[in-house]
């Protein structure tokens, strides 16, 4: 029974249901990202795990111990807040050693541990400085060091990198992941940035309207989205209307497309959605007839340097295809092309 078990947890404020019956298992040492648009309940869920918010229903169990009714200050979890919440009246070292002071650790030991943690977050020698003298990135590191000072059982972060500029954020994502792997601590991060989630997480939990949409490793979320919301939310996706045709094919734009699998319980003729990533769409010159392909017209070309994007129109549907510059097929606006959607790349979703 090691690891964290979030078991049917709900939170309602009167008539408003912020979190609805969420069940997630976090194995020991895993990095979990709660990802979703704002107002999806991810922060409320994190605050319930932290003990800052009381669950209306359900249980939160860590290593077999029911913590649902244990107050926040007895849970021994480390948390990094969105505002970082560094104490302005204490120095960097005092901030980091705050939890040790509360636990009656002696002055020398506190100083040694603060130095050690500052080394860990690669910010040595600033223990004596006031918080006001640190840059945004440095404050971020101090907040992380403070949360880790007393060897917490669980490491929680609420949009921890949102205050940083884009470049620093990317660097911190990698660093945070490396730190977590080195310490082997179970970690839960709330974010609305899917790149952040894809970079750091072992498991991404996609939430919407207080409910879990999908919980899976990043690449599976990307390759096998569970529904059209996930497909649309994570990365760019072509979502096309289709109808079931047999057990391994769909009809799309009047043509028959072979697919790997249909959702369970689908009958022939039922309405479906097909999700295809733009980079999986192959572009061929018009003429030769191929399997799983759709004639289309190029309506826009966007050369981004690192990739080339083609906007296509096939009858009523618009389609996006991305190719690397090396494979640039040289099509221009107005060209008639054949868009091939390989069976393995077509994820069929219930409508």
């Amino acid at each position: 029974m090691t690891g964290l078990h979030i078991d049917g947890v709900s939170k309602s404020y009167g008539e408003i249901h912020a979190v609805k019956n969420v069940t997630i298992d976090v194995p020991q040492g895993q990095f979990i990202c709660l990802l979703g648009p704002s107002g999806c309940g991810k922060t409320t869920l994190l605050r319930m795990i932290a003990g800052l918010e009381e669950a209306s229903a359900g249980r939160i169990v860590l290593d077999g111990e029911d913590l649902t009714r244990v107050p926040a200050h007895r849970r021994n979890f480390g948390m990094v807040f969105q505002s970082l919440a560094l104490f302005p009246h204490l120095s960097v070292g005092e901030n980091i050693a705050y939890s040790l002071t509360l636990r009656g650790v002696g002055r020398d030991e506190r100083r040694r541990r603060a130095e050690e943690l500052l080394e860990l977050v690669r910010l040595p020698g600033v223990a004596a400085r006031p918080i006001s003298q640190l840059s945004g990135g440095q404050r971020q590191r101090v907040a992380i060091a403070r949360a880790l000072a007393f060897h917490p059982r669980l490491f929680l972060l609420d949009e921890p990198l949102s205050a940083l500029d884009a470049k620093l954020r990317e660097a911190m994502q990698v660093e945070l992941r490396q730190l977590q792997q080195r310490l082997g601590i179970s970690t839960i991060v709330v974010t609305h940035d899917q790149r952040e989630a894809m970079t750091m997480a072992d498991v991404v939990v996609i939430m919407k309207d207080g409910e879990v949409q999908q919980a899976a490793p990043p690449i599976e979320i990307y390759r096998r989205p569970a529904n059209s919301f996930v497909a649309d939310f994570i990365g760019l996706s072509n979502i096309l209307a289709a109808e079931a045709a047999g057990f391994d094919a769909v009809t799309l734009g009047g043509r028959r497309f072979r697919v790997d699998a249909l959702p369970a319980g689908t009958v022939s003729g039922s309405k479906l959605l097909v999700s295809v990533r733009p980079e999986d769409v192959h572009l061929l010159p018009e003429g030769e007839e191929r399997e799983n392909s759709l004639p289309a017209e190029v309506t826009f070309v966007r050369d981004l340097g690192a990739s080339v994007e083609f906007t296509l129109r096939a009858g009523e549907t618009e389609l996006l295809a991305t190719v690397s510059p090396r494979e640039h097929p040289g099509f221009v606006v107005g060209d008639r092309v054949l868009a091939q959607l390989p069976a393995a790349a077509c994820v069929v979703l219930a409508s």
Binding site: H73, M79, F81, A85, F87, P88, H89, S99, L102, L156
Partner: protein, 289 residues
């Protein structure tokens, strides 16, 4: 470029002078001139049974050195600081929880508190004197409930003066502490709790130190305010509970000794300024350490 430089130069040199002229004028006319008159009067000679005449004598100040006025000063400082401490002990937690209420509820409380401010010291003094009286006071309720044998008079007494001063200082303390406490980042106490501090520890280790400046300001303000109160000690206290402010009123109005009243007032002001400076200096040193 030069326009910008000109404007900057104008702002640097001309604006502060012009803007300060108006309040400066007020300060001179309504504060420095009366103060100068009072300072001069404090050295004047009193004519027994009459008024006073210009002179330069230190008799008025010499009279201050008597044990009687020493005791009155000591008592004034004691009851004012005690009242200020009690005011903060009630006002600080109250304001803390007030800022945690929802916005409309906060506004309703603040309007109520501002309404209390509109009551004059006279009304407050006499209201408390009936509330603490034997015939119409709160003790009748305790008798009615069965907690007391017979109704009691709780005034005039030291406690009655203290209650009056705390009551009158409380709305001011809320108004001084409210901005600081509503600006407090709510994630700070939460961060403290996550790091293992109980709500009690969080309050004293995080909340109080962060709003320390507002607390010091509040203490000084209520203390000075209480020190200047001359009605409540007369209405709610016995003569031994009269503060220096009451003595000043007594000398000026009833003993017709304006020069001595002026000397008392100057003395009280100097002591007050001295204490405020001391508080600020000690506070700054502790903040720096």
């Amino acid at each position: 470029m030069s326009d910008v430089a000109d404007i900057a130069a104008f702002q640097r040199h001309a604006r502060p002078g012009l803007l300060l002229l108006w309040p400066g004028l007020f300060l001179v006319v309504f504060f420095l001139v009366p103060f100068g008159m009072m300072l001069a009067t404090s050295f004047y000679h009193r004519i027994e049974g009459g008024f006073f005449e210009p002179a330069f004598e230190l008799d008025n100040y010499a009279r201050l050195l008597s044990p009687f006025f020493g005791k009155v000063l000591g008592f004034s400082l004691l009851i004012s600081s005690l009242a200020a401490a009690c005011t903060i002990a009630i006002g600080f937690p109250f304001t803390y929880f007030l800022t945690r209420l929802r916005r409309p509820a906060q506004v309703r409380w603040l309007v109520f508190i501002l309404a209390v401010l509109s009551l004059s010291e006279v009304i407050i003094g006499f209201t408390w004197s009936s509330l603490l009286s034997r015939t119409a006071g709160l003790s009748n309720i305790l008798v009615w409930v069965g907690l007391m044998e017979s109704p009691q008079a709780w005034f005039p007494s030291f406690q009655a003066v203290l209650i009056g001063l705390v009551y009158i200082g409380l709305p001011y303390s809320v108004l001084v502490l409210y901005p600081a406490l509503s600006r407090l980042d709510r994630q700070l106490p939460e961060a403290s709790r996550m790091l293992g501090a109980s709500p009690f520890q969080t309050f004293f280790r995080i909340t109080v130190p962060i709003v320390r400046n507002a607390l010091v300001t509040c203490f000084i303000m209520v203390f000075v305010f209480d020190l200047g109160s001359y009605l409540l000690p007369q209405v709610l206290g016995r003569p031994e509970h009269w503060t220096l402010s009451v003595q000043i009123t007594d000398q000026a109005l009833f003993q017709a000794n304006i020069p001595f009243a002026a000397a008392l007032a100057i003395f009280l002001m100097l002591v007050t300024i001295g204490l405020v400076i001391l508080t600020v200096v000690v506070g700054r040193r502790r903040a720096g350490a």
